[in-house]
Amino acid sequence: MNLLASLVDGLLIGFVYGIAAMGLTLIWGVMNVINLAHGPLIALGMFGVYLITTALGVNPYIALILVALVGLASGVLIYAVAIQRVINAPHLSTLLATFAINMIIIGLGTKVFSTSPYTIDFSLGSISIGPITILGTRLVAALAAVIVTGSLYLFLYRTRPGKYVRAVANNRAAAELMGIPSSRILALSFGIGTLLAATAGGLIATFFPFTILAGGAYELKSFVIGVLGGLGNPLGALAGGLVLGMLEGVIPAFLPNTWVPVLEFLLFVLILLVRPSGLFGAKR
């Protein structure tokens, strides 16, 4: 019974990990950029929801929608300012560009918020079934993650810009020859990646305390999940998120909880060695 409680907890948080990882893996898949600003963008999502909720007194989920939109816009902006110039340069250049953004956000964020913990005072109560108690906020977060994943899927497969994104991811040169405005599509992709990061952050902020540095842990998890699910594969990211969440829930039932990161990264290395395209296949 207790294992079931751990499993449920793990899966619920796994959905949120999934959308955080989706943001990272989408950007990697479409533009071959490892976004090192992913963690700070998650943290900004947390603070965005916090600021809007406390300043305007609105429901955090309304704040989350605003944060997602601002995330999209700032992603496009970051692309235009920092990434576009180096997109065709070797990997190290884009890596350093996103690392610079990472440092700028952390530096400014530390100045404004310090590194003290913040919490959003919000509760949706909880549901108890036998020994399992599920928090309302976590349930909503998992549902929101499913909705976000579904929307992303529909966007990528059912809309014209979405098809453009996939075309650019598949073969940018060929897509350009077909008249697809690849630069705009890359900007859009970075925007969506940022939107996903900010949304994941906002959801996490409704139940966990956070600091400006809190995104780092989720960024690392996103790397593991990305590799687990196959880099560039959004649905794989969700599945990978669920696997990771489940591991985090279940491992402590058998071992001291400090073993969790050890086993997570062991898995990460194993997947890279044995099945580098991920459990669910990477984009080719």
Binding site: I34, H91, S126, P256, T258
Partner: protein, 434 residues
């Protein structure tokens, strides 16, 4: 594809390295520009530089800032009175020199060496936290500087043969044992304990000491587990506690993890008789948890409701020194607009004890000040202060903990009550806690 992944892996490794460097914010500027004139000259007024590092950023930010505020208040007060008089008739005033240690013990040794060598600090106060203090103690001893430690309760620092390090806090080995005594008195049939603690030096020391004390008293430890300092999701640990079905949960670590653990235990509706956590509960800010704070017990080095006074000193046959509890509380409230926590009181008391030692020694000469500190035995608003001078030099042996519990007050607002030791209680222990 293979090559791309090789590139990816090497990049990820680079990222790891960069991130490790990246989280360190640049060192902050010193907070004051006072210059030392350490003391052999017979000038009529001298300025003593007190050096320390504080956690302006990082996990210990809340506690450390209060400690620094307390120390600063003492310094402001003593300087406003014209300073401390020495035997040669000169007066010394104090100035602080401090750096941000980012709650990171790896930064501390460099900062203390800098305080001593570059900033010419005459005396040192410890950083906040047992780990950082242990690191700083090495430097203090190496350069022959007296360091008063506060916000640091580990015992082991004082078993390393240091001769110049003096502890203000009740040591870790006695931190949670009183909570167990309180439990034993209120509920003698509670026998199963779960101990979950932060994986840092201080919390681990406390928990290990608690474990051997509890086992000696016939308690059964059904769960003993550490968690990482940065833990925000206690779900897996709470599930484990639920599985073990303890009568009481003890442990915790510091403010950040302690509040999160309390909140999540409440949200998960875990039923237990007794919950005692380190550091977080006595903080006034803990009450912001609302219903989740109710029933939680915490050890406190000091409380504003503490009853130390001159009469108590007289009947114990020791000296009374410094402001009364009420005077300190009022001065702190006037200066910072909030009630002082024990971290603030510890900061103030550390400065005050140093000042007292200089006054009594009548000189700034380190060996003489050391001899004075060794012989100190006095009561003040913070409690009884006396240092071990034999096998664990500098270890605090006079001071005692008080234990608080958040209980339902007016309008269901959590109200802090002292529930142990018996002589100081303001209310009875509520058990089960909610």
């Amino acid at each position: 594809m293979k090559r791309r992944f090789a590139v990816l892996i090497s990049m990820l490794m680079a990222v790891g390295l960069l991130a490790a460097c990246g989280t360190q914010a640049p060192a902050s500027a010193p907070t004051s520009a006072g210059n030392a004139a350490p003391g052999t000259g017979a000038a009529s007024s001298k300025t003593v530089t007190i050096g320390f590092s504080a956690s302006l950023t990082g996990a210990s930010n809340v506690e450390s800032t209060r400690q620094k505020n307390g120390l600063q208040l003492w310094m402001d007060q003593v300087n406003a009175r014209g300073g401390v008089a020495l035997a040669d008739g000169s007066k010394v005033t104090f100035t602080a020199k401090s750096y941000d240690d980012e709650s990171n013990k790896d930064r501390v040794q460099e900062l203390y060496a800098r305080l001593i060598n570059d900033d010419k600090a005459d005396f040192l106060i410890s950083p906040y936290g047992s780990g950082p203090t242990d690191a700083a103690a090495v430097i203090a001893e190496q350069y022959g500087k007296i360091m008063i430690t506060t916000g640091a309760a580990s015992d082991s620092t004082y078993s390393k043969g240091y001769t110049l390090v003096y502890q203000m806090y009740t040591p870790a080995s006695r931190y949670l044992t009183g909570a167990l005594d309180a439990l034993a008195q209120a509920k003698p049939d509670a026998k199963k304990l779960a101990v979950v603690h932060e994986n840092d030096k201080f919390s681990t020391d406390v928990s290990n000491a608690l474990k051997s004390y509890a086992e000696g008293k016939g308690y059964q430890i059904v769960l003993f587990e550490g968690y990482d300092t940065s833990t925000t999701d206690f779900g897996p640990i709470i599930n484990k506690i639920q599985q073990a079905q303890p009568d009481a949960i003890l442990g915790g670590g510091h403010f950040q993890d302690g509040t999160t653990l309390s909140k999540q235990l409440y949200e998960k509706k875990l039923s237990t008789q007794f919950l005692a956590l380190l550091v977080a509960p006595p903080e006034p800010k803990f009450a912001e948890l609302g219903a989740a704070a109710l029933g939680v017990v915490g050890p406190s080095q000091w409380e504003p409701a503490a009853t130390y006074n001159a009469d108590a000193a007289k009947s114990a046959g020791i000296e009374w020194y410094g402001p009364t509890v009420a005077e300190f509380v009022k001065a702190y409230k006037d200066a910072y607009g909030e009630e002082p926590s024990y971290h603030a009181a510890g900061g103030y008391a550390a400065g005050m004890i140093l000042g007292k030692a200089l006054e009594q020694a009548g000189t700034l000469d380190t060996p003489k000040v050391k001899a004075t500190l060794d012989g100190l035995d006095l009561l003040n608003f913070f409690g009884h202060i006396k240092f071990n001078t034999s096998n664990a030099h500098g270890l605090q042996i006079g001071h005692d903990m008080v234990y608080i519990q958040w209980q339902r007050g007016d309008g269901d607002k959590p109200t802090k009550q002292i529930i142990w030791p018996a002589a100081a209680t303001t209310a009875k222990l509520t058990i089960p806690l909610r």
